[in-house]
């Protein structure tokens, strides 16, 4: 039977069409159809200046906009060899990690929703709202920030931000235990996700999967530690690796576990960054007009979904010659076919939820 999990569906995380060929309830092949959200990001960037590119990078992965900005800005600063002030670096790390927490909360909430648990979704969104309120305090926007500029930031943080941020962290840390009770340790959730959609490590690396999906399969790779950028090498944090504690290594439960553990690690990083935040002027290194030297660069950073890479070719003009965004969710979605063969349709929904894709990033 050929089934269509159509572009409009409560749990395809965006407009994605999956053509599923089944044998009764067991899946034999999945063909994804993309492009419903294609907005010609790459072609458009060839017609606008580098400063104007940044709001468009927000809109690709709209759930982790800070990390998208961060990736672009890190690549440009390496190309132009700009060194940004210390305060800027610390604030960038704080924002990126807060956005990582917000993105993981959304990913896990919707994963629970796909599996049928209605309540954790709302609890996680309640806490995500507090993070979005903090972002609104800083740059005026809740979801698409345009915050990190090449050489600095668009606004400095307000004076009460540090106090509100540490207040939030103190409130939020015990909530993770609550989520674990509702989802991670819940017997029904474990039955739905343990051993389901196992992704072996070599398959994951070959398909270009990265981030929590790759670490869920046991591969120890994190761009923040291994190809470090900004000031991540100053912070102490661990990289959670899937160990197959419940079920097999690389199943949906492991990917869930990696994400929820990463939230705790991000809290650690933010606390350390808040402690070490120096005073200073954030506008020192902002160039008047961005004209990078001729050349090309490919730089990747760690977004909540994996290795976000920007390939930028500059020909000395104020507009990019070629700008390609290598989106991690694109690679994650390509592995869906391989790991869902032999499972049932309910499992396909669970696997899709565990891969944490955002169609804005896939289609660009």
């Amino acid at each position: 039977m050929v089934l269509n999990i159509g572009p409009q569906h409560p749990s395809t995380h965006g407009v994605l069409r999956l053509k599923v060929r089944t044998d009764g309830e067991v899946v034999s092949e999945i063909t994804p159809y993309l492009g419903y959200l294609h907005r010609c990001f790459e072609k458009h960037c060839e017609n606008i200046t580098y400063e104007q590119v940044i709001p468009y990078t927000d809109r690709c992965d709209y759930i982790a906009s800070m990390n998208n900005n961060f990736g672009f800005v890190v690549a440009m600063e390496e190309l132009m060899e700009i060194k940004v002030p210390e305060r800027v670096e610390y604030i960038r790390v704080i924002m990126a990690e807060l956005n990582r927490i917000a993105s993981h909360l959304l990913a896990l909430g919707t994963f629970g929703l796909d599996v049928g648990a209605f309540t954790p979704f709302l609890y996680m969104f309640r806490d995500r709202e507090r993070i979005l309120d903090m972002f609104e305090m800083v740059c005026g926007a809740r979801l698409l920030y345009n915050y990190m500029w090449v050489g600095g930031l668009s606004h400095d943080i307000p004076s009460n931000f540090e106090q509100i941020c540490s207040g939030f962290l103190d409130y939020f840390e015990p909530k993770i235990l609550e989520y674990n009770e509702l989802l991670r340790d819940n017997k029904i959730f474990v039955e739905r996700t343990a051993d389901v959609g196992v992704m072996p490590a070599d398959v994951a690396v070959s398909y270009g999967v990265s981030g929590p999906n790759l670490r869920g399969s046991g591969v120890n790779w994190d761009v923040r530690r291994d190809e470090s950028y900004s000031i991540y090498d100053r912070f102490e944090f661990e990289i959670p690796l899937g160990q197959g504690q419940v079920g097999s290594l690389g199943d949906c439960w492991d990917r869930y576990w990696v994400r929820i553990s990463e939230i705790s690690e991000s809290i650690k990083i933010i606390r350390q960054a808040l402690k070490g935040l120096p005073a200073g002027d954030i506008g020192q290194a902002l160039p008047k007009k961005i004209r990078p030297p001729q050349g090309s660069i490919y730089r990747r950073t760690e977004s909540p979904r994996g290795d976000l890479g920007y390939y930028i070719i500059s020909d000395g003009k104020p507009k990019p010659f070629r700008l390609k965004m290598r989106s991690p969710a694109f690679a994650s979605l390509s592995v869906l076919d391989e790991i869902s063969r032999g499972w049932m349709i309910s499992d396909v929904i669970a696997i899709l939820g565990s891969l944490d894709i955002v169609l804005g990033e896939i289609d660009r």
Binding site: A117, L122, M344
Partner: protein
């Protein structure tokens, strides 16, 4: 019981027995329909409020009577009903018209018939059938026919999937439900619902009410097996695969809109009421007061019955909003490999206990 009483009274001044029968039947039928509608009204509102409070939000709210949804949102369900009534009646072009139209009524009729035998109180019961439990279980299992009709007639793969899963699920869970009720029947010695309730009068050791749930440990287990199988019978989470929202859009009632969909909804809550009522009658003493001897006039009987039913319905809602849903094969595994052995063990245990403990 009510229908006989009514018939006697009416034939008192109507002389034609057939007419008396029809009139009595009509009055009881309409009252029961109103009861079901009222139940749906209250249950939908309660479900939304309960789920909202569990999820740290407020649910439907309003400013005052006449404004928006009334104070605390009590008029919300009425607004929903009006909206559903005024919706366009769409039937998919390739759907099987006759089955499509009949399906919601079939499900509704079975829930309606089930409620006809439920005793709300010493005197209020539409029909006091001698084989009460058997009748309710039999009539309830006809609901699956309507469900499969709905899934088939929609001409939609998703609805068909939902209907097939539902058929497998409901038919499978009939078995542990029936087997665990047998424990209650064995102890009471009768299938008649009023008699079972009368059996549960009095106390154990002077303090606990003599309800079947407290009678012996095996019947305590039987209560849980029956209640969970009942949840599975009514297609509620964690057994709501047939209408799993995030997987099948809406399962077997995807193609239904407006008043037809409202009938499915009505029947679902009526089924919830029937299952809760049956659990209360067989295990929790029906309309018996928990303090034996006190507060057991007929008015109080109605009160006790309704409050016990409300507690069980609340429990069903609580479970719905807490747990994720089981996959189809896991559902079947739980039924066949866990509940049926447990239910069989129960029968054996209750019988043994009755033999030994007299």
């Amino acid at each position: 019981m009510t229908i006989d009483l009514l018939m006697d009274n009416i034939s008192g001044f109507l002389k034609v027995p057939a007419l008396a029968f029809i009139l009595a039947g009509l009055i009881c039928g309409i009252t029961l329909f109103l009861v079901i509608a009222l139940n749906a009204l209250i249950a939908v509102y309660a479900e939304r409020k309960v789920s909202a409070f569990m999820q740290d939000r407020v649910g439907p709210m309003g400013q005052g009577v006449g404004l928006h949804a009334g104070k605390w949102g009590v008029l919300q369900t009425i607004a929903d009903a009006i909206k559903l009534l005024s919706k366009e009646d769409t039937i998919p072009a390739l759907a099987d018209r006759k089955l499509f139209i009949i399906a919601p009524f079939v499900i509704f009729i079975t829930a309606f018939l089930g409620l006809a035998a439920v005793p709300f109180n010493q005197h209020i019961q539409i029909i006091d059938i001698n084989i009460g439990i058997f009748y309710i279980l039999a009539v309830g299992s006809m609901g699956i026919v309507g469900l499969v009709m709905a899934g088939w007639a929609s001409n939609n793969k998703w609805s068909l999937y939902g209907a097939m899963r539902s058929a497998a699920q409901i038919i499978s869970y009939e078995i542990p439900a029936g087997l665990s009720i047998i424990s209650a029947v064995m102890l009471a010695g009768t299938l008649n619902l009023q008699e079972i309730i009368h059996f549960q009068a009095g106390t154990i050791w002077g303090i606990f009410p003599n309800w079947i749930i407290f009678n012996n440990p095996f019947s305590f287990l039987a209560f849980f097996v029956f209640f969970i199988s009942g949840i599975a019978e009514t297609n509620r989470t964690p057994f709501d695969i047939p209408e799993a929202e995030s997987e099948l859009v809406a399962g077997f009632h995807t193609e239904y809109s407006g008043m037809r969909w409202a009938f499915f909804f009505l029947s679902e809550y009526a089924n919830v009421l029937v299952v809760s009522a049956l659990t209360v009658i067989c295990f929790l003493g029906g309309w018996q007061s928990p303090f034996s001897g006190w507060l057991n006039s007929p008015a109080w009987g109605l009160f006790w019955f309704l409050s016990k039913v409300i507690i069980l319905v609340f429990l069903m809602m609580w479970i719905r909003w807490t747990f994720p849903r089981l996959r189809v094969d896991q559902l079947m595994y739980v039924c066949w490999k866990v509940f049926i052995p447990l239910a069989l063990l129960n029968i054996f245990g209750v019988g043994l206990w009755s033999l030994i403990a007299g």
